[in-house]
Amino acid sequence: MLMSDDLKKALLLLLVASGAAALANGLRPDRLAWFGGSGGEQAVPGGSELTAPRSEDQVLRAWRRGGAVFVDVRSQEEYQQGHIPGALNIPAERKSLHLDSIVSLLPVADRVILYGPRPEVANLYVYLLKFGFSSRHLETFYPGRDFLKKHGRFQKGRKP
C-alpha cells in the first residue's frame, strides 16, 4: 500500500517541478502567458484558433491568381510524389532544419497557405507564429486523402 511518506514526496516533487516550470517559463524570451495570453506574452494558437481551412476551389483560385506562397508540410517523400506546383516543402517534423526556408518566407508572407494533414499543419502554424508571422496571413488547407495524388492538375510538372 502507498505510504504517507511516498505521498508527501510525490507532492513535494510536484511542487518543486512547478516552481522550476514557472522559473523556466519566466526566463524564456518566448514565454507563454499563464492564463489567457495577454500583456505582450505569446497567446496559445492551435485548435479552433487556426484559420478556417480553405476549400479545394479556393486553393485553385489562389494558385491561378498567384501571390500566395504554398507550403507543403508533409515529408519529403510524400512531397515528391505530388504537390502543388511551386510549393515549398517544410516537413513539420523537421521544421527546425528548414529555418532558411522559413526566414525566406517572411518578406513575402502576405499570404502563406499551409497544406497537409491537420496535425502537421497545426504544428508548423504554431511554429511560424513564433517566427513573427501573423495569423492574418497564414491560411490552412487539408487536402483529401487522394487529392494530391489523383488530381491530375496537381501532379508534379503539370499545371492546373
Binding site: L2, A10, A17, V44, G47, A122, N123
Partner: protein, 155 residues
Amino acid sequence: MIPADRWKYFSWVLAGFLGGLFIYSGLLKIMDPAAFAGAVKNYRLLPAVFVSAAAIILPWWELAAGVAVWIPKWRRAGALVLAGLACVFLIAVISALIRGLDISCGCFGAHSHRAGLSTLAIDIASLAAAACLLIPSPARPETRGGPGTEGNTLS
C-alpha cells in the same frame, strides 16, 4: 512469487525505461512549449484559460517524476506521479478517439504522431509500468519493523 533479487533487477529495468521515456518526452515539450500548448488545446478538454498553465507545468512534472524513478528512495513517489500523469493522458486520448478528433497526440513534441491506438498502447504500458513500481517488493513488508524487514531491497 518473484524472488526479491529478481524483482530488484526487474524494477531497475522498468524504472530505467519508464523514467527515460518521460524524461525524453518532458524535455521535448519543455523545448517547444507553444507547440505543446497547441496540442493540449486540440484535445478540447481544458478551458482555454488553463491550457497555457498545463503546457508550462506538465512537462516539468514528467521530467521531475522521470528523474525520481531513477533514484531508489524517490522511486515510489515518482511512480505515483507518473501513474497519475499516465491516467490523465490515457483519458485524454480515449476521449479524443471517441470524439473522432484527428489531432497530434503531443506526446513527443514535434515528433508526435496522430493520437490513435499506438498512443493508447504507450499510455497503457506507462500506467502498467508505473503501477508495477508501486507494488511493494516481495521482500518489503507492509508494516515497517515486522518480520522480514532485513530483506528490504527496493529502497
